[in-house]
């Protein structure tokens, strides 16, 4: 199974067990995440034998729906709960990617997760990286998962 397939598998597992939402692959991998509008990004760094960044880019409406499902409470704005939930999603995905990339998961350390949210921004690797960008869909809309790995 290649990395993309394992990321897809992890994402579906996390969403069904922790978020209690159905997700599926929305289409083929993308070349870039591009300019993000009214979106919130959760990101986490991977360090050690493999260096990289894992990011999940979620449009605001989808992020609020995910947070409501995750926390079991209604959410109607991008507030601290949403930032926390998105950061935690990045944390969980990062944990799975750590295991995917390293046999015992022990040679890779996870950074602190962080979020970026805004009306319009771009998210870009600043070094030469291999990128995997996968679109997913939920009943509330689509989101992207982006893995950048140092070459």
């Amino acid at each position: 199974m290649d990395i993309s397939e394992k990321i897809i598998e992890s994402t579906m597992e996390i969403f069904s067990t922790m978020v209690m939402m159905e997700v599926s692959v929305a289409g083929p991998p993308l070349q870039e995440s591009g300019t993000l509008h009214d979106t919130i990004t959760g990101m986490i760094g991977l360090a050690g034998t493999h260096k990289g960044v894992l990011a999940i880019h979620i449009p605001n409406t989808v992020a609020m729906a995910i947070t409501s499902s995750f926390l079991g409470m209604e959410v109607d704005s991008i507030n601290d709960d949403v930032r926390d939930a998105v950061g935690e999603l990045a944390n969980m995905l990062g944990g799975n990617v750590k295991t995917i990339l390293s046999q015992n998961g022990r040679d890779i350390e996870l950074s602190l997760p962080s979020t970026i949210a805004g009306h319009e921004y771009g998210f870009q690797a600043a070094t030469d990286v291999e990128m995997i960008i996968l679109p997913f869909k939920t009943e509330n809309g689509e989101f992207l998962i982006e893995l950048q790995l140092e070459k």
Binding site: R83, S111, P113, H119, Q124, A126
Partner: protein, 153 residues
């Protein structure tokens, strides 16, 4: 361990060595900050004994001035060169922090820098994380170097 001082040392070293710029050093601020107004933020994760996220937040004018200094040529848009340059600044500051932390027996590994560019965005961290931020001044304006972190249990 005085992280504010470590950040000051790390950044002033990078700027004086690589860019021949003597930064004006502001007061380190601890704890939750307000929203940071910037046009480009380069972020780099740290993992190991500490789980952290280092960010360098710059307004456009400062980012372009830094990039011009790096490349030896004028830069007037937030283009690829600027994203790479500020990413590299974050990388070098983080590299210095890694060495400083090692001096206390705190081991961290670095991830890779990512640049966020936009007119209006807000960077948030994990609730419960500590935060230290230091403002620095150059001729073209101020930028902020911020470390959010938790000690790994």
């Amino acid at each position: 361990m005085d992280i504010g001082q470590d950040i000051v040392n790390a950044a002033t070293d990078v700027f004086s060595t690589m860019l021949m710029i003597d930064l004006v050093v502001g007061e380190p601020v601890e704890g939750a900050g307000g929203e940071v107004t910037s046009n480009i933020s380069s972020m780099l994760g740290l993992g190991g004994d500490i789980r952290g996220m280092l960010a360098v937040h710059c307004p456009a004018a400062v980012a372009m001035a830094i990039t011009s200094g790096f490349l030896g040529m004028d830069v007037d848009t937030l283009n690829e060169d600027v994203k790479d340059a500020i990413g590299e600044i974050a990388n070098m500051i983080a590299g210095n922090l890694k060495i400083a932390f090692a001096g206390y027996g705190v081991k961290v590994e670095l991830a890779i820098p990512t640049s966020v560019v936009g007119e209006s965005y807000r960077v948030g961290g994990m609730l419960g994380a500590k935060r230290v931020a230091v403002p620095f001044g150059m001729e073209s304006g101020q930028f902020l170097v911020e470390l959010k972190y938790i000690v790994n249990g």
